[in-house]
Amino acid sequence: MDFEIVIGFEVHTELKTKTKVWCACANEFGGPPNSHVCPVCLGMPGSLPVLNREAFTLALKTALALQCDVPRITTFDRKNYYYPDLPKNYQISQNDKFLGTGGYLEIDLGEAGHKKIRIHNIHLEEDAGKNIHPEDKNVTYSLVDLNRAGVPLLEIVTQPDIRSKEEAAAFMTQMRNFLQYLDVSDCKMQEGSLRFELNMSLRPKGSDAFGQKVEVKNLNSMSVVLKCIDAEFDRQSDMLRNGERVMSETRLWDEVKNETRAMRSKERANDYRYFPDPDLVDVDITPEIRAAAQATIPELPLARRRRFEEQYGLPAYDASVLTASFTTANYFEKAVESHPSPKGISNWIMTEGLAWLNKQPEDTTIDDFPVKSAAIAELVKLIDTGAITGKIAKQVFPIMLETGKSPAVIVEEKGLKPVDDSALGPIIDEVLADPRNEKTIADLRGGKAAAMGALMGAVMKRSGGKANPATVTPLIRKKLGLE
C-alpha cells in the first residue's frame, strides 16, 4: 500500500522586540545565565505581567500580513503545566480569543505551481527558559537559565495542508523568508528564534480521511525536519503495514540516532486547564490600532519579485531566486544602488554568492558573506568599464572572498590590469607568427568567424588573461588585412 504524507506545522518565532513580553528585561540572545531577569519573568510571588505594546504590534502585523481574521477583542489565557523552565508553572498564551484565525501562506513550488497553506490560528505567548543538564555524570542536579523566559513568542498553527517533504521544505524556507520580510524575528533556528514543530500522519494514497497524527519537537534546523519526515514516514508506514495503531503522542527527535522517540502520550490526556488570565485585561484592537499595524507591513516577497522584473529588467528566474531571501534581495538592491548593472550583479550573486551560502550552516545569510554588496558592485563596475576582463574578475573574486580586500586593490597589487593596447601589438604579432596557428588564420581568412575565438584564446593565454577582448578582435583583423 502506498501512503500519503499529511503535515501541519506549529511555527514558533521569537519576536524581535527590545524588551520581553511582560516586563522591561532585555530581549537578547545569550548573556550570562539569569542576567536578563526580574521579579516578573522570574515569576516571583506578587509580580504581575503587563503586555509589551511592541510585541503585540509585531504579532498583529504578522497576523494581518498572513491575511488572518483579526477580532476586535483578543484575550490571554493561562496554560497550566509544571516544568522547571517555566517559573510560574503556567504559560501565558492564547487559547480562546486568538489574535488571528484563518489566513494562509502561499508557497511557490516551482514547476508544481503555487499552493496556499492555510493557517488555523496565530497567537502571542511567552517563551520558557532553558534547563541545563551538566554533562558530568556524577552531577546530580540540573540548572535553569531564565534569560529566555518571557521572550515574546508568536505561534502560527497551520492546517494539515502539506502533502510531501518537498512542500514541507518549501513551506519552511518561505515562512522564514516571509517573517524576515516582515522584520518581526531574527529567524535563527540555531538560536531557537525560529522553531518548527511537526504534526505528521500518513494515510493510504487516495484516502480523504486523516490518520492518527504524531507531534515531533526538538527539531532545530530545517534539514533535521526533513530527515525527521523521512524517519517518521518509515516508522509510521511500517506500523500501518504491520496492522499496528499509530499512537497520538508527542515525540522528540534524537539527533544521534536519527529517529524520533516517544516523549509523552497524548492519550493520557494532558490537561492544561486553560482559563482566562485574570492578571491581564482584554486587548481592544481598535480600527486605529489595526490600521497602524497594517501600515507597517512592508513589500512582501511576491510583490518584490514582480518589481525586480520590472524595475531592473531581470529574468523571472533571477527575480525569484534573489527575492526568495529577504537579505539576498536587500544585498542585491544595495549593490545595484552603487553600480546600476542589475543583470551583471545578479549573475555574480547567483553564482558566487549563493554557491558560498549553500555551503554554510542554515542560519547564515548573505549578510555574513565576506564579500559585501559594495565590493560586488565595484567588481562588476571594473568589468563593465573594461578596467578588467571577466576572466581576470574570476581570478580576483577568490582573493576578495579570502582577504575581504576591494577588487581595485587586488587588481593593483597583483598586477592584473589589462595589457596596454600598445603592448598588445607584439603579443598579437607573436601569435600570428606562430606556425601552430597557420590553419586557424587560414580558416579566419576563409570566413570562418569561430576561428577568431581560437586566436583570441591564444592572445589571452600569452597575455596572462590581461588582454581586453574588445581591443584584441579589431587589432587581429587589422593586422591580417581583413578590415
Partner: protein, 489 residues
C-alpha cells in the same frame, strides 16, 4: 482614654510634640508587651523601623517631611512583598523567602515616610476566616484571647485593635479585611477592584484580591486609602483614574435624603447570631434616623455567592500557587530523587491543609470535562451577581449589610470547612461584583460584649460617597473609642 489614631499622631508630629523615634519605640514596646497574648505578627521590624524613624525625624528637622504621615508606624499583612524582609504568606513554603523587590503599596508607604513596623499574621495565603490556617500559629482576639480575630487579615486587625500599631493594611479577597475588622471592633475597607495596585500583593485570587486600610476610625481609612490608591503601570488591572483627597471629600456629604438599599437576602436571620442581629438592626435604624431612606430590595443571586466564590477563587488560586515548587525559592524537600518528586513533596510538605483543599477544588473546577459545569458556570453566576448589585445601586446610593453572621468565635469551633466558609456569607459577593465596601464598628453583643460590624457598599470607584456616609454614620453610632479591648498595648 482611647487608642491614638494615625491622624492624631500625624498632628502631634506636625506640631513637634513627639518624634517618630519616640512613637516607634512606644509601639515597639507595646508590641513586646502584648505580642505573647495577641500574636499579631510574623515579623517585627525593630532595628529597621527605628532606623527609618531616625531618618524621618531628620527630614522633619529640615522641615522636609515626605507627607503629613512621615514617621507614623504602620503594619502590613505578610502577603505584601517587602524588599529585604521575609514575606511568608503565613506558609511554610515561603518561610525563608526574602523578596528582592518592593510591592507598589509598600513602596508608596515608604515614599510617604511611613515606618513599616511589622508583617502581620494571616491565614496561609489569605485562605481562611480565623488565622487558624497560619503555619506560624493563630492570632488572638484582643477582646478575648480565647477567641479568633477573624481572617484572613487577622493579624492586621489585632495589631490595630490591640494598640500595637495605629493602623495597618490588609487584603480582601472575600471579606478578609472586613470580617476581622468587625470581629475586632475596627474599621476595614475593601476598595473597588483596580483602585489599589496589586503589584507586590502575593496573589490568592487575582480577580478578587484588593489591598485596603484597617484603622481605628473612618478618617484614618480615608487618609490611608489616598496614600495607597492610584494607577500603576505595573498592574494591568489597576484603574487609570485620579485619586481624590478622600479625607477632605469625606466631610462634604450627608446621609440626609440618601437611599440605602437593604437586600432582604442579607436579613433573613438564617444562621445569624441573635445578638449580632440586634446590633445590626439598630445600626440600620440609626441610618434612618440620620435621614437616609431605607429601601428594601432583593438580590436574588446572592444565594449562589458562596458556590460561585469558591469556584472562581479556587480556580485562580490553583494556578497562582503553582509556582511554589521548591525550584527557585521557598521551601524545598530534602533528598528528592527526581524533579517530579521534588515538586510534589515540596508542595505536600510546604502547604497547609486548607491551601491544599482549595488547590484541589480549583484544579478540579478547571479540568477538562468539568470546566463548563463549574468554572464557566461560576463566571455566568458572577455576571448575574454583578447585575444584582447594579440593580440595587440603581435604586439606591448605598447598600447596607451585616459584616459577619456571628461574633468572634473560639479557636477550633469551625473545624468543618463549610462552616468556616459561611463566615464570609455577607462579604464575598462584593468581591465578585468588584465594588467598594466598608465595615464599621456598630456596637457590641449584649451577652459577651463582643464587637459587631455593619457594612456599607457603594458602586465602582464611589469611595468618596462611601466614606462620606461612613464618616457621618460612625459619629452617629458612637462606638469608636467607646470601649477598650481586654488586651491593649
Amino acid at each position: 482614654m482611647h487608642l491614638p489614631t494615625a491622624h492624631e499622631l500625624s498632628e502631634q508630629l506636625n506640631r513637634g510634640e513627639t518624634t517618630s523615634v519616640k512613637l516607634t519605640q512606644q509601639y515597639l514596646e507595646k508590641i513586646e508587651r502584648t505580642e505573647p497574648r495577641l500574636h499579631s505578627f510574623i515579623t517585627v521590624l525593630g532595628h529597621e523601623a527605628l532606623a527609618a524613624a531616625e531618618a524621618s525625624d531628620r527630614r522633619r528637622a529640615y522641615e522636609l517631611p515626605k507627607s503629613p504621615f512621615d514617621g507614623v508606624p504602620v503594619a502590613v499583612k505578610d502577603n505584601m512583598i517587602t524588599k529585604g524582609t521575609k514575606t511568608t504568606c503565613a506558609s511554610r513554603i515561603l518561610d525563608n523567602f526574602v523578596p528582592p523587590y518592593n510591592g507598589t503599596v509598600v513602596q508608596k508607604l515608604q515614599d510617604a515616610g511611613m515606618i513599616v513596623i511589622g508583617k502581620a499574621n494571616l491565614d496561609e495565603f489569605a485562605m481562611g476566616s480565623s488565622t487558624e490556617n497560619s503555619a506560624f500559629g493563630r492570632s488572638n482576639n484582643p477582646w478575648n484571647t480565647d477567641l479568633v480575630p477573624g481572617g484572613s487579615s487577622g493579624g492586621s486587625a489585632t495589631c490595630v485593635a490591640g494598640g500595637q500599631v495605629p493602623w495597618s493594611l490588609g487584603s480582601d479577597t472575600g471579606g478578609s479585611i472586613r470580617q476581622p475588622a468587625a470581629l475586632c471592633g475596627i474599621v476595614g475597607m475593601k476598595p473597588t477592584y483596580g483602585r489599589v495596585s496589586r503589584y507586590g500583593l502575593v496573589a490568592f485570587a487575582s480577580s478578587l484580591d484588593q489591598i485596603g486600610p484597617m484603622t481605628l476610625d473612618v478618617e484614618d481609612t480615608a487618609h490611608l486609602l489616598k496614600m495607597i490608591s492610584g494607577y500603576d503601570t505595573k498592574d494591568s488591572t489597576s484603574a487609570n483614574l485620579p485619586v481624590p483627597d478622600y479625607a477632605e471629600e469625606m466631610r462634604k456629604g450627608s446621609l440626609r435624603g440618601k437611599k440605602v438599599a437593604r437586600p432582604k437576602e442579607f436579613f433573613t436571620g438564617e444562621g445569624m447570631d441573635a445578638g449580632v442581629a440586634r446590633v445590626v438592626d439598630a445600626a440600620v435604624e440609626k441610618l434612618a434616623s440620620l435621614g437616609a431612606e431605607i429601601v428594601d430590595v432583593s438580590m436574588p443571586h446572592l444565594k449562589y455567592s458562596i458556590s460561585c466564590y469558591y469556584l472562581v477563587a479556587t480556580a485562580e488560586c490553583s494556578s497562582n500557587l503553582a509556582r511554589y515548587d521548591g525550584a527557585q525559592y521557598g521551601y524545598r524537600t530534602e533528598g528528592a530523587k527526581n524533579i517530579v518528586e521534588m515538586f510534589s513533596k515540596s508542595r505536600a510538605e510546604g502547604f497547609g491543609a486548607e491551601v491544599k483543599r482549595r488547590i484541589m477544588m480549583g484544579t478540579h473546577a478547571l479540568s477538562a470535562g468539568y470546566y463548563d459545569a463549574y468554572y464557566s458556570k461560576a463566571l455566568k453566576i458572577r455576571t448575574l451577581l454583578k447585575q444584582d448589585y447594579d440593580a440595587a445601586l440603581k435604586q439606591a446610593d448605598l447598600i447596607v449589610a451585616p459584616t459577619s453572621p456571628i461574633p468572634a468565635f473560639p479557636a477550633g469551633a469551625k473545624a468543618d470547612p463549610m462552616s468556616m466558609y459561611l463566615c464570609d456569607i455577607f462579604t464575598l459577593s462584593l468581591n465578585l461584583a468588584g465594588y467598594c465596601g466598608i465595615s464599621l464598628p456598630a456596637g457590641f453583643t449584649a451577652n459577651e460584649g463582643l464587637p459587631v460590624g455593619v457594612q456599607l457598599f457603594a458602586g465602582a470607584f464611589e469611595e468618596v460617597k462611601l466614606l462620606q456616609a461612613s464618616y457621618e454614620f460612625e459619629k452617629a453610632l458612637g462606638v469608636v473609642g467607646s470601649r477598650l479591648p481586654a488586651v491593649v498595648g
